[in-house]
Point group: C2
Chain length 255, copies 2
Amino acid sequence: MAGKSRIGRVYLVGAGPGDPKLLTLRGKECLEQADVVLYDYLANPALLSHAPPQAERIYVGRRGRGQYQPQETTNRMLVERARQGQIVVRLKGGDPFVFGRGGEEAEALAAAGVLFEVVPGVTAAVAAPAYAGIPVTHRTMASTVTFVTGHEDPDKSTTALEWPRLASSHGTLVFLMGMKNLPSIVSNLIGEGRPSTTPVALIRWGTRAAQRTVVGTLADIVEKAQQAKLEPPTVVVVGEVVKLREQLNWFERRP
Amino acid sequence: MAGKSRIGRVYLVGAGPGDPKLLTLRGKECLEQADVVLYDYLANPALLSHAPPQAERIYVGRRGRGQYQPQETTNRMLVERARQGQIVVRLKGGDPFVFGRGGEEAEALAAAGVLFEVVPGVTAAVAAPAYAGIPVTHRTMASTVTFVTGHEDPDKSTTALEWPRLASSHGTLVFLMGMKNLPSIVSNLIGEGRPSTTPVALIRWGTRAAQRTVVGTLADIVEKAQQAKLEPPTVVVVGEVVKLREQLNWFERRP
């Protein structure tokens, strides 16, 4: 392609849940071609080693407790870099379209006429429970699974969390980033009628070597989380399937 | 390890949604070590090329219209092969724990005392919509996403599908393998009050080159599916996010 100016493009790549081996083959390929990688807090930084040494690496995740780079700034960077002819990888924890604001990034790229491709990833909503020995669905225990964002956007009143509906489900509920709001998640579910005996698992840094799991019920999980001093990022799993962990906990028991 | 008998084990590997590049690095590694691979209908057979030439390949998927090898037979094969000291890969379409009956396979292995590891995969419930330009969650349009199995086990009366709850959701619904029951899915949702103007997308063979998408509303999707002669395997997406496809449909428009 000597002498021909390249057409820039953006790959919205799911980094997977944490274990760097859970990146997809396509995600690795994209990183290997990258001129610049924009990554955030939840994408395992070990994945950056797939990018060429000279590729630029830009952190666009949270800066401190609760402080994030504004989404508009990230969107603008993606558009600008692609327009300069660069191969841009936007590396996002889990899957780009599961609570990753990847939809908004794709909209910004489409609106600007920038070529983009979505590379789905393994979501922590499924993989963190799996590494804790919990299948999110099960033929006799859970015929549905619902993913909920644990930190709800305060200006989203119309689609505010649907507690009566969530509480009445017989299926599994998975709250991503649910640690900060755990007390209100629990009190809403109990308040709307979910039995306080319902099993709950909290999985911190799921699929990483540092994975830690705390199990309880809606009645005692807030206290147990405090005793264990569990911090974000933590996935919250609510439902009967949590009971399978006792038998299926392969990862934390591995030799 | 000459002279030492190996300890057999089973890897329950998510094959991903269809695009062979959406296999994980860990999934590829497991296949490369396999003595035997048990695969089914939804796992892309192209992935078998990662296994050594001498590895045995056993198809345990459906034999004809609606006929499957009994789950118990598959469970027994997994246990027997591992007990013979083999490295067994159970390659399952999508993710092993999202409607894959992987939970039951893990239970059988745990009960038999066989070493196993779960390798999560990219689920078609997220990736097929993503390749059709549909983010399953969106900050302003859908704060939850629910996965539902489209062919419900008839003997599961207690956890029978929760139509009133599903119909009242403002979030996205994704029915995996929903094609055969599309008319009853649609009539249940409308019957329980979901507006007939709700957008619906049907995505056949999502993420494969053969991907095909039909878009409509609850009011007309059954007729459109018949006109398009759409067959399984098809993912059904219900919710406002389907509208984003018009802008974000990158895969079917790619050069």
